[in-house]
Amino acid sequence: MAQVFDLVLSAVLLAGLYAMMAYGLGLIYGVLRVVNLAHGGVIMCGAYLGWVLHERLGLDPYLALPLVMAVTFGFGVFLYRVLVCHLPRGAAGGPASLLLLFGVWLVLRNAAYLLFTANDQVIRTSYSTHSLPFFGTFLSVNRLAVLGLALVIPLALQLFLSRTYLGKAIRAVAQNADSCTLVGVDVERVYAITFGLGTALAGAAGLLSATLFSFNPAFGAGELLKSFVVVVLGGLGSVLGTSVAALILALVEVFAILVLPSYLTSAVGFVMLVLVLVLRPGGLFGRPVLG
């Protein structure tokens, strides 16, 4: 029984991380119908940004979070205005958007390699290895912080989307972009801001990952795939769907160690991705991912 409790706790903590990673990808896809293959690259950038701020300025990663998000937001807007806006939307665009953003990812990876070399880095603070006792087991401080943020940020996102004008505009554009033009919404501006928001969330996820794992310029591929799994599982209904999907993925992965060698638990997520894509395109909640 204690073992199950332990596993559930691990899963909840892990779900926090997965949810953080998936929000940005889901937002961009939901509104722009563009699969952001540069998502992994932006996560990596967030990690390096946080690391640089920590190393050079001694800035604690959690304090640096707003700064990192601001920078990656700006980068996202820039990326949209310069590159992405030229692409056709959705499935009709073929592989164009995928390949373009993939190209961006490669360039980001290379830039990080040139600036920081390929060596593994990690953000090491005084409390990195601390853990809090909790009903007979220990919870890592960093993972708790990630969980906390993973609960706060979607709440903030949800409030933003439902209460503010810009948020409502984003939701409107997601439903029908042409009608929005008719009623006077500057669709391109909304797209740019959404893209920026998506990359800002990715940057935040990167920074938080950096406090948990070591990273190098190739970091982000695994995170990208896990984000896909969560987005596809959760459909595109809501922020809530993404959170629940992240929890499901985390639970499956964590409990898989009971039957599978721990080596293969990551493969579980990928298999789930393919199965859901093929069998239940609607995901488990919300609107269908396909078409």
Partner: protein, 423 residues
């Protein structure tokens, strides 16, 4: 676009394709083979992981190689058949990538025309690169690949200075067994054994599990591989936690050790005895993880500076290294230095830079060495992999890592069980 796609004329396309291939060949037809000149130096090639996952250790091996080359050139060069020939080392960065290591070895041999190769670091890379050396009949002397699989292929040109990892595992178990006999850890003891998914890890696992099976006083409650250079060991450590073992034995390379141990500590894990195989005492790791977090970790290594007595090759090496780099060497630098030294000695004994002659000298080499046991040989029965005893170290809370086993070279006593979690 359709116009282009509905192409006209098969002949035109065939023509286009051959033009394509021809351009490539023409462009590739660059250099002409050079004129064979009078030999003025011995050209040694090597790649090391100077960037990438094993960058730290790659840098250490580089220090060892460069020290040996400096020493050789100090007296004017190697004494080869009556002449003094300087040693030139061409060192490339293989970025801890096997394919790159293979390509660069090919380039060193076929394009830069090196005479001999010194090995790269880590079993996986050595295994791949040695194949290139063997295909081209180039002697390959390495202190970076320890798995027996590498040498089981019975390559003629491959020489390994690292003793087998199997023996590492069983030496560790020997000390642990002593503690069990002395009643310091339970009998029977439960072991959680995890190992990297490479020949290196499999060797370690074999050494430990065979010892455990023979002794009968140990049970393996976890026995699992993990991904080399993995980032998240959460699932693995979850399994270890759930198993409730007494001892935690892992075989990992430096980056995985640092990652795994950080997550181990964060998860609040603690075992009576902990070992990461050959890792534990590295200064870099102690800095990355914090002194208090690595206390009492056991490791078994191929060399330790404490082995240097009053005089002899080990003393000379430690002093020379301290003078040159201002710190005490670890086993990486020692093995790099010794590999180069072994190669140089064989070249001198052969009296020429002929690859066959040098290869034969290496095969029957008996070199007074800095390594435990005092002599370096490459026995044919073990596929030309050296065999000598390991030394077991333990990290002390004050930051030192004395040798605790075998008794005759020990300069400290081991502590068991871990004071943080004796039960």
């Amino acid at each position: 676009m359709l116009r282009f796609l509905l192409l006209r004329g098969r002949a035109r396309d065939a023509f286009r394709l051959t033009v394509l291939l021809a351009c490539w060949v023409a462009v590739a037809c660059r250099s002409q083979p050079g004129v064979v000149a009078e030999r003025t130096e011995i050209h040694i090639g090597a790649t090391l992981p100077l960037t990438g996952a094993e960058a730290k250790v790659g840098g250490f091996f580089k220090e060892g190689y460069e020290l040996a080359v400096e020493e050789a050139n100090h007296g004017g060069g190697l004494e080869v058949g009556g002449k003094r020939l300087k040693v030139k080392l061409s060192l490339l960065d293989d970025t801890t990538n096997q394919a790159t290591a293979v390509s660069l070895a090919d380039r060193l041999i076929n394009s830069e025309k090196v005479d001999f190769l010194l090995g790269t670091y880590s079993t996986a890379l050595v295994q791949a690169q040695s194949t290139v050396a063997e295909q081209n009949h180039v002697p390959y002397v390495n202190g970076g690949g320890a798995a027996t699989d590498i040498y089981r292929r019975n390559y003629r040109y491959l020489f390994g200075l690292l003793a087998p990892v199997e023996v590492l595992g069983s030496t560790l178990m020997q000390w642990i067994d002593e503690q069990q006999q002395a009643g310091k850890i339970p009998k029977p003891a439960r072991i959680a054994l995890v190992w990297e998914n490479t020949a290196h890890g499999k060797d370690f696992r074999l050494g430990v599990s065979q010892f455990a099976a023979k002794s009968g006083a140990y049970s393996l409650v976890v026995d699992e591989p993990f991904e080399l250079n993995g980032k998240d060991f959460g699932a693995l450590l979850g399994k270890v936690k759930a198993a409730g073992a007494d001892l935690f034995l892992a075989d990992a390379h430096l980056p995985d050790y640092i990652t795994m141990h950080r997550q181990y500590v964060s998860a609040g894990l603690c075992h009576k005895l902990v070992s990461y195989g050959a890792r534990g005492s590295e200064q870099g790791a102690i800095e990355a993880l914090g002194k208090e977090n690595v206390a009492h970790i056991l490791s078994a290594v191929w060399w330790n500076a404490a082995l240097a007595g009053k005089d002899g090759p080990a003393r000379h090496f430690v002093d020379a290294f301290k003078t040159r780099y201002g710190r005490v060497p670890e086993w990486f630098q020692a093995l790099g230095y010794e590999s180069a030294r072994a190669l140089f000695r064989a070249i001198e004994l052969a009296g020429s830079a002929d690859r066959e002659a040098v290869r034969n000298q290496l095969a029957k080499l008996e070199l007074p060495s800095i390594l435990p046991g005092g002599t370096l040989t490459f026995p044919a029965e073990s596929g030309q992999q050296a065999r000598y005893p390991f030394v077991v170290q333990q990290n002390m809370p004050d930051g030192t890592s004395p040798i605790i086993f075998p008794r005759d070279v020990a300069n400290g006593t081991g502590i068991a069980p871990n004071p943080r979690c004796p039960n």
